[in-house]
Symmetry: C2
Subunit: 180 residues, 2 copies
Amino acid sequence: MLAAAVRLFNERGYDATSMFDIAESLGITKSSVYHHISGKEQLLQMAMDRALDGLFEAADEVRALDVPAPERLERLVRRSVLVLAERFEYVTVLLRVRGNTEAEQHALSRRRDFDTIVTDLVKQAQAEGGVRPDIDPATVARLILGMVNSLTEWYRPRTGGAEAIADALTRIAFEGLRTE
Amino acid sequence: MLAAAVRLFNERGYDATSMFDIAESLGITKSSVYHHISGKEQLLQMAMDRALDGLFEAADEVRALDVPAPERLERLVRRSVLVLAERFEYVTVLLRVRGNTEAEQHALSRRRDFDTIVTDLVKQAQAEGGVRPDIDPATVARLILGMVNSLTEWYRPRTGGAEAIADALTRIAFEGLRTE
């Protein structure tokens, strides 16, 4: 049900999707849908959580690694790309949310928490050495996450290739395009 | 009038903005608005053109430069950041468009043309040497433009600092974060 709802949210927009549309796309009645969930808002909440949980799990995994901060940063960037590719429809829902309800505000606040985790890791990597210290850490985090999040605009999960894109993205971010 | 309309489109969404809202925000009557333009669609079209014209002018300027392709690429990336910052509200409108009307389809097609210009410049820069040849040029273009376009999510024109962000972005893209 969640997958069906999320597909409709992304195709038509959350506001334009009704509980009836969700029921119809599953070939069940609206009252059957209400048997399982309280409403559209709960489905949105679940979808945003699925995206955010993936990102926070990645952050936890990376935090536990016994490697220098620049490497932890690189791993987290790579894992973010893979989470986005695996949970593509959920992350797409998350990134379109503008904070119109309490649930959306909560999701935006968790997104900011994730940004802060990345910013702190950039700071640590700059302090340890290995990551250039001449760019404000919050700007680094925003630009790198902006590059990751751009996948929702052009990546297509059906065609795959997430690993190759994660490689390309981390190479650009850490080594840069220039060869000389 | 265009600026007022674009502000409303970004605040409330294009669909949720009526010609009455636009008139009201200008303190004039709806019929005065219709005296100048044919409808909401025309304002959207003008807004998207303003964003796209800025990007294409930047591409033309860069094409005319007598410097190697890698430097033209870097200049175009930098100029794209500055165009986005200068025409922030217009680019934000452009990037939210999903192709629901003929005008939106036309804008999406012009966006793809711009992506192609950047992809071709990456190809040229890879062929000339100076830009790493181990990443597919279309992927490079998408990731770099994704990083640029992410500004619509977090940059605030009022606080300024576009030059510093353009510096940070081109440094990450061309030199990378790693220092060792």
